[in-house]
Structures are given as C-alpha cells and as structure tokens.
Symmetry: C2
Subunit: 411 residues, 2 copies
C-alpha cells in the first residue's frame, strides 16, 4: 500500500498561515513532489523517521547531514542532557570549550586552533573575514555552484541582494586549475582568499570528485600568491575522514569550516585554522548569543569520540557502496541509465539520459510512497546507523521504483 | 575572604594554546579586570553560577541575556529533553515549527508570521535582505553604537572588513529624529530600511530610553518614505514586554528580531514580520543546518509560556528596580555619584563623575571578589529567578564595594 499524507497536508495549511511558504529552506514543498512526500515528522530514531500520518521511512536525508550516528543517539543525547543540568548558555564559558578545542586540534589534520559558533555559515563568513584581515586584501574566489550558506556574499539567495554584497567575489568553475590560475594572474595581489568545498556538490547536478593533483595544484597556486585557502567542509566533513576532507584528498588548507555531523544534530559549528591564522583570529571580534553553550560542546565531544571509536566514516562509505552497487545493478538490470555520483557516503542519484529530472522525480516519489526517503535535487547522506539490512530493504523498494520508471519512460 | 582564581588562570593557559585569545567574544579577558574575574565556570543553577575554583556568584550577566527564568530551569529543560528523544535536527521539520510560529504570532504585537534561525545575527541579516527585497533599494540606516551582531555589515568588528561590506550603510545618532529625517531627505528613494534597537544600549556608555514621541515620529517618517522599519529586539526582547519592546514603547515595526531569552539559553532565534513582508519573506532563500531543530522549539514554547504565566518581564522590572534603588541609595549615602541607566530589567551601571571607568572597574572587581557578578563595560540583566533576598545580598556586597571606591577615589 502506498503511503498517504492527509495529516501532512492539513498541517501544511496551518503552517502556511503563520510561516512564509509554510516550510522554508531546502525542504520547501517546491523541491518536493506534490502528493508524494511528508511535510512534517512526528519522531525519528536510528536511520528512520515517522511522519505525522504514521508512515515509516528509511531516511537518506540525515537531516541534510547532521545525523551521522542515528537519530536520538543515546550516548550523544546523554552527554548533552548531563551538561544541560549544569546550564546551557553561560558567561564565562565552561571548560568544555577547552576540551572541544583540544579535541578538534587532536583529530583534525590542519587544526592548530579552533573556535565555535552555531551555523556553518557563521564559520564560512568568519573565514572570509580572517582571510581579508590576514592578507589585507578584499577579493575572494568562490566556485560556481558552490554552497557556503544563504548569507548575501555566498550567492545562494537572489532576493534582496545589493551589488555591494558580492562586489569582491570572483567566481571560477570548481575543479579547474587553469581557470583559477588565470583569475589569480588577472587579480595579482588583490585576492585575499579562495573558498571551496573539498569536492563539488552542487544542487541539481552530478557531484564531482577532485582530479588527481588538483588540490596539490590549488595549494601551490595559493602559496605562490599569498592566498588563504579555505575549505568549506560543512557538508562533507566527518563523513569522508575524521581528520577532515582535506586530509582525505591529501592537502592542507589554512582554514576549514565544520558543522552538521560534528554533534549528530545538536547546533554547533567550528572554524579551525593553522598557526599562521591565529593572530588575525584573535583580532577579529566574533561572537553570538549561544556560541559558548556547553551542552552542544558535550554533544560534539561525545559524537566525535563515537565517530572515532566506530569509524563512522568507514561505515558510511561501506553502506554507501552497498547502496550504490545495489541501485546501479537494479537500474542496469532493468535497462535504465542511472548512476550515483560523488562519495559513497554522500551520493547524488541521477538518470544519465535526462536533463529534466522527470525519471528522478518519479523514482524518488515511488521510493517515498513505499518508505525510502530519497532526494532528486540534492545529494543524500548515509549514516553509521544504516545497517546492511536497511540497505537491502532500500534496494528492494528502489528496484520496484525502477520498474515503475521503466514502465513509464521505457528507458 | 576575597575569591581567588587559581584554576581559572591555569585553565586559561590551556585554552590559549588551542583557542585564539583563549576566550573569544564579549568575555574575552581584555574586557575583564585582571585577577578579579573567573574565566571558566563549572555549573549554573537559578540566578547563580559556580566557577572552576568553587566560588559562588549571584549572576547579573544572565549569559548576556539568554537566561531569563534561571539557569537549568526544570520546565524548559524537560521540554527540550522530551523532544530530543524524538530527534534533534530532522528533515522534514516537526510540527513544533507550526506551534512556535503560532505562539509568536499570538504573543507578539507586530507578528503576522514567524521564521526561526540560531543566532540573533541570522535574523538581523535576514531582515536587511527582506527590506532590500521588498523595497528594491539598497541603503540601510543604522544607529551609531547600535549592536546587531558581528557580521561585516553590522560594524562591530573592524578586522577583515572590505569597504563594500558597509557601502550601503548610513549611520545616524540613535534617538535623533531630525538626523534621521535629514538622512532620509538626502537619500530620497534610496533607503530600503532602518534598523534600530528599541532603546539605545551601546557598550561603554550609559543607556538611553526613547524620548516621548520618538518612535511614533520614526514610524511616520518610515511610512512617508516607504522605508521598512526593523527592530532589533535581540537584547531587550522578552524582558520589557512579552508583546515585544516595540509594543512597550507604543509603535509597530515591520520586522522584529528575537533571540537570547526566547528559550532561556537553548539556541534559537526568530524573525517576525507583518503581512506586507510575507511575500518577500517567501522569496528570499534562507536556511541553516539546525534551523528546523525541534527540541529548541519545544524549549522556546515552554519558556514563552512560563514567561507569560509568571509575568517574567514584570518580575525582572521589579527586581531591577529594587537593585537600582538599593545601589543608588548606597552610593549616595557614601557620597558617590553613581546611577543605573536604561530599563530596570537591563541596567548599565555608571559613576557619573568619571569617563575612564576606573571607579566602575574597582567597584565591579570588589563585587566579583565577593560573589556578585557585575559588568562595567556592558549592560547587565535581571532574571525572574533573582529573588528579593538575592537582591538584598547583592546590595550588601555592593555597599562594601562602594565603600572601597570611596576610600580609593574619595568621591
């Protein structure tokens, strides 16, 4: 029996009266498929959530990344709750600030120091400020299709943007060393920093892994031109390598941004940097109402420790490989042109013989209606809570969805 | 016996190795007084915290505002913990998103809709985008000494700022209708919006309440010139009036920003607006990794409900009045020129015959050394957890500190 969404629809009507668009951000209904996705959930546990109509899903959103150990993870939740009994926001901070900074420096390959905030965008915006302050230059290079948050300079929102917001931003194609070299030459002595994701994960497009030598080339160009190399590891961080995605790809940035999976869903982000960036990081005044909150730091410490202990990145990779092979084999067996791009742990699904996403939408709809929560427009995420059996069940549901796609489109 | 800070100092050495400045933000040791303040706390409960050396304080930081019901408040903590067992970050969101938006619309005088984020600065930055998107103009008016966060446009950080960051910002003195009118006339048809705090709370300066008719005049000028009036109620919000500080001062903004006391320390902020801003709020793409987290919404619902039930703003005002009278009377009895400016619930202490803060620093030092946590550079906060007896004990400590100031400075 396919799922129905009576409660979701009724609640959405209520939401639309008091919330612009009803639901804002990535899960706005404009990116879902009418009548085939839930709008509100009632609870989540492990790799599953249950929507307000009682439908159960094996989830590959992982809340767009934060969930890496499973929803409502006992150890992380207990660490948070224990610390919350000693206060949440406090001033002065608790000693967990030190413990967590030491932990970041211990596990992260490029970190000589760490600072903490709430959003990924806090850390990407902060990195820009530090690059400009360090180099006393203003221009920043970003990649087309890169995502660094919804603040005006980052280019993901197009309403209410002033030309000044992006006056110092130069865009290049991701992964193109020659373009980067050309931009650097054309702006000699003017570029403060370059911010990129460790691999390319745009929306509505296949993901791109770095070519051999790409990052080493980027590091060299940055060094030759005194450009601060900033890695936005908000989305990929912790799922590729506990030491950071830059380590995974064999290079060392000057600043790296972390968020999402750092505390399995509790709100904390981190900026880490090398020694050369320490003084400017001391000079730039940055703070927020909850940036010293200790329970989120306790959750991050527990989450990082658990990720190390179980090798969460390794599990995500293995489950992702199982999922990728399962889906690609089922699709091939039915004569469909389908692949999963990007890292196993963070895959993007794609029917390679279409540009309009019609097959992808039908596929995701059929999966959603039968308990597998996939996306067609954005990469998905594996977690360490997904079991081999969850992946097998997922592939079974996907196989029937591929059958429907085949019947509907013929190939 | 005056307090000592051996553990704080040792821990600060450890912190400085892995954190730029050791502690960043408002509580950086540069704003404390050497040897007289703790650097790290071990726990907080009610209106008190205990530092790592075991010293106990009656606290008037309230974590710079978030704590309004008392640290580790059982009802709010339980609401958070109960919801956390159903997941933290999820996608889709939980129905608490709707419940909280409805609650904001119900309690807040100017709210026809609400959206939620993590930092106060998320909401002030978001408001700017909506004002620009609504008016299709770029210029924004802010007040000298106003604080809207540490992002580049807001002017509180001076390192790593590009000229473009503030190219569209026009500064006026706070509370000066004529200056505002002049700026509006000089920039006819170019100003998208004006953002102000509901009363003036700069650092290092006495606070200023609005003169009669000021806000009504501002509202009129904004209406006559199609300027979006934005109120940054991040700091004052919930302590003056549950309906918003704008309601308290008798006017209606188009957008208002909330954070801090909304959830007694759990990380959530809110942007609310009137109907005319709803469509642009639907168009501007704004999101963050944890903006749909449901436990923070449960905490906010519990906190707002509790604030309504006990009239938290009324209690903060009453306790603040008791504190103000107590301190001003003790100071006067000792022949000191001292006052507390701003609202009773959010006072700034000041020796009126000095500009260099020497008396204020000695006073705060003596208070800190004897268990009362006051600031000399920034406003303080009352909470509903402060009892009349806490205020009496505070006034006793303060009286001895005034005696020391008198002995040292003679007046």
């Amino acid at each position: 029996m396919a799922y129905t969404f009576t409660q979701s629809r009724e609640l959405f009507q209520r939401a639309a009266r008091v919330i612009p668009q009803g639901i804002y951000g990535h899960f706005n209904p404009s990116t879902t498929i009418p009548g085939s996705y839930p709008y509100f959930i009632s609870r989540a546990k492990g790799p599953r959530f249950w929507d307000v109509d009682g439908n159960e899903y094996i989830d590959y959103s992982c809340a767009y990344g934060p969930m890496i150990l499973g929803y409502a993870h006992d150890r992380v939740d207990e660490a948070f709750a224990t610390q919350a009994r000693k206060g949440t926001a406090t001033m002065p901070p608790s000693t967990l600030l030190i413990d967590l900074a030491e932990k970041m420096v211990e596990v992260n390959d490029c970190a000589d120091w760490a600072m903490f905030a709430k959003n990924g965008a806090d850390t990407t915006s902060w990195a820009l400020v530090l690059a400009r302050g360090y180099r006393r230059r203003n221009k920043i290079v970003l990649a087309n299709g890169g995502y660094h948050g919804t603040q005006p300079w980052a280019g993901s929102n197009h309403t209410g943007i002033s030309p000044a917001d992006r006056a110092d931003i130069i865009m290049v194609p991701w992964g193109d060393l020659d373009s980067f070299q050309r931009i650097v030459d054309e702006n000699k002595g003017q570029i403060a920093g370059a911010m990129f994701t460790p691999y390319h994960h745009p929306v509505f497009e296949q993901q791109v892994l770095p070519a051999p030598g790409y990052w080493q080339g980027m590091r060299r160009i940055c060094d030759e031109n005194d450009i601060v190399l900033m890695i936005d590891d908000v989305r990929a961080g912790w799922r590729l390598d506990i030491k950071g995605s830059a380590h995974y790809f064999g290079f060392k940035p000057d600043l790296a941004c972390y968020c999402k999976a750092i505390a399995n869903g509790y709100p904390i982000s981190a900026l880490v940097g090398t020694d050369k960036m320490r003084i400017v990081a001391s000079k730039a005044f940055q703070t927020g109402s909850y940036w010293n909150n200790s329970p989120e730091m306790a959750a991050a410490l527990a989450c990082i420790d658990e990720m190390q202990k179980i090798d969460a990145a390794g599990i995500c990779d293995a489950r992702g490989l199982q999922l990728r092979r399962g889906l690609e084999e089922c699709a091939a067996a039915r004569g469909l042109q389908f692949n999963m791009s990007g890292p196993n742990a963070i895959p993007f699904l794609h029917f390679t013989n279409e540009k309009n996403f019609k097959r992808a939408q039908l596929f995701c709809k059929e999966c959603s209606l039968h308990g597998v929560f996939f996306f067609w427009h954005h990469n998905m995420f594996l977690s360490a809570a997904h079991t081999e059996d969850d992946i097998r069940k997922t592939v079974d549901v996907a196989d029937r969805a591929f059958k429907t796609v085949k019947e509907h489109f013929g190939g």
